[in-house]
Amino acid sequence: MESPIGCDGRGGARGVAAASRRWLRLALVSAAVALLASAGGGRRSVAAALVPRMAEVRIEEFRFAPATLEVQAGTTVRWVNHDEEIHAVAFVDGEAVSPALDTDAAFSRRFDTPGTYAYRCAIHPHMAGTIVVR
């Protein structure tokens, strides 16, 4: 199980390849769970709870996209830096600061508690974003 806060891949093709593999695995698991779910109506809610929820924020041209992201509680949000400049994700509540994210590096945080989480780039603080957890 992924820890609530983690950084995967400090850049380069290796990080991207690993990330792609992870996404593929996720997609397969999701498909399997969906199959299970469709097989028996009564098990659908249990199956839904098993699906790891993921969402992604792109860091691009000194912006977070989307700037505001709504997710369900339990979702892991992953920030991926597509800029050639280093960025870092820092939550205004002080809960987490990512390491420096060079090109193609990513940072993840899981959100279990509903609320509004504002963050900025720690290096370019005019870059701002919000995660709204339902």
Partner: protein, 327 residues
């Protein structure tokens, strides 16, 4: 960097006067020209037009009674490894060579922040090692956001913070000039702009209170203290409160880095100067989607990097600010 004793080259070599981004004074005004001429009369030529100054006739200036010079370098970004300058260590060495060629030797070297690129491992060591070779009396540093984002400034303060207060601010006097180093990269979590904080502003007000209004003040910090371009965070939200404490002084020179280009502004008795980086240039405010490195061909990048020499002559009015490029 052969000094050219040549008043015919008053005009900036390569750059048009930048617009005043906040709609303030145009930067090349008649007044500016007159200041320029005043300096020409003393042997120092100061262009207010934000350009490269090629005209220098300075032999006696630094050695004048009560006079001295200091250098500002900024945004060395050691650890940066991309276009347009994958080797900022080399360009820092070139900048250092220019500093060491100055005659008379500058009394001080002031680094206005972003020593490192995102606190990359070993970067502080590299900067410190290179700048130890500077032939100057003393070295002073303020951090940029790249130097503090990961640890709140702990490592920076441990290395460069001796004699400072709070988050690293300090003041000192040098031959009648009062220097103030301010830290504005640790207080911007809420609005995304540079911030000094109430404690530092209160300290500043107390620090300058006993000084006579004729004391020349030099403030150095990382992020501009005037609104260059808030959309990119190129301003300090509580700068007006800090500048209020300096209002009564006849000569205030504010030096900063952060935006990797030369911009100047005069407001009352306060002269604001942003400095070039020694590592890579950044776009003019608002001319790109974001403030990332400006990609220019390798043979042009040195013309956009540089160091700054500031000369003070007792009783001569504003300090002479002389920007020189590496190429």
């Amino acid at each position: 960097m052969e000094p050219q004793d040549d008043t015919a080259s008053l005009a900036p070599r390569s750059e048009a006067p930048p617009p005043a981004p906040d709609g303030g004074l145009p930067l090349a005004t008649r007044r500016g020209f007159l200041q320029c001429m005043a300096w020409a009369g003393t042997g120092v030529v100061w262009t207010i037009a934000g350009g490269v100054l090629s005209s220098r006739s300075l032999a006696a200036t630094g050695g004048a009674p009560g006079g001295f010079s200091f250098v500002q370098i900024s945004d060395t970004h050691i650890g940066f490894d991309k276009e347009p300058n994958p080797d900022p260590v080399a360009t820092l060495h070139e900048a250092l060579a220019r500093v060491n060629a100055l005659d008379p030797a500058p009394a001080l070297l002031i680094h206005t922040g972003d020593l490192t690129h995102a606190q990359k491992a070993g970067a502080f060591d590299t900067v410190a090692e290179i700048l130890r070779q500077a032939r100057v009396g003393e070295r002073f540093f303020v951090p940029g956001e790249h130097d503090v984002f990961a640890d709140g400034g702990k490592e920076f303060l441990a290395r460069f913070g001796a004699g400072t207060q709070g988050d690293g601010w300090r003041s000192f006097d040098w031959n009648g000039v009062h220097f103030v180093g301010l830290v504005n990269v640790l207080g911007f979590k809420t609005d995304g702009l540079g911030g000094l904080g109430a404690e530092q502003i209160e300290w500043l007000a107390k620090d300058v209170a006993p000084l006579s209004a004729s004391t020349p003040i030099v403030v150095y910090t990382h992020i501009p203290l005037w609104p260059v371009y808030a959309e990119w965070g190129w301003t300090t939200s509580d700068a007006p409160q800090a500048l209020a404490a300096l209002k009564r002084f006849g000569s205030v020179t504010v030096l900063n880095g952060h935006i990797h280009q030369v911009l100047q502004k005069v407001e009352g008795n306060v002269r604001f100067h942003t400095a070039r980086s020694t590592a890579f240039p950044q776009p003019a405010p608002g001319t790109a989607p974001g403030p990332g490195p400006l990609k220019v061909p390798a043979d042009q990048v040195r013309a956009l990097l540089g160091v700054r020499e500031v000369r003070y002559v007792q009783g001569a009015g504003p300090l002479a600010v002389i920007d020189e490029t590496l190429g």
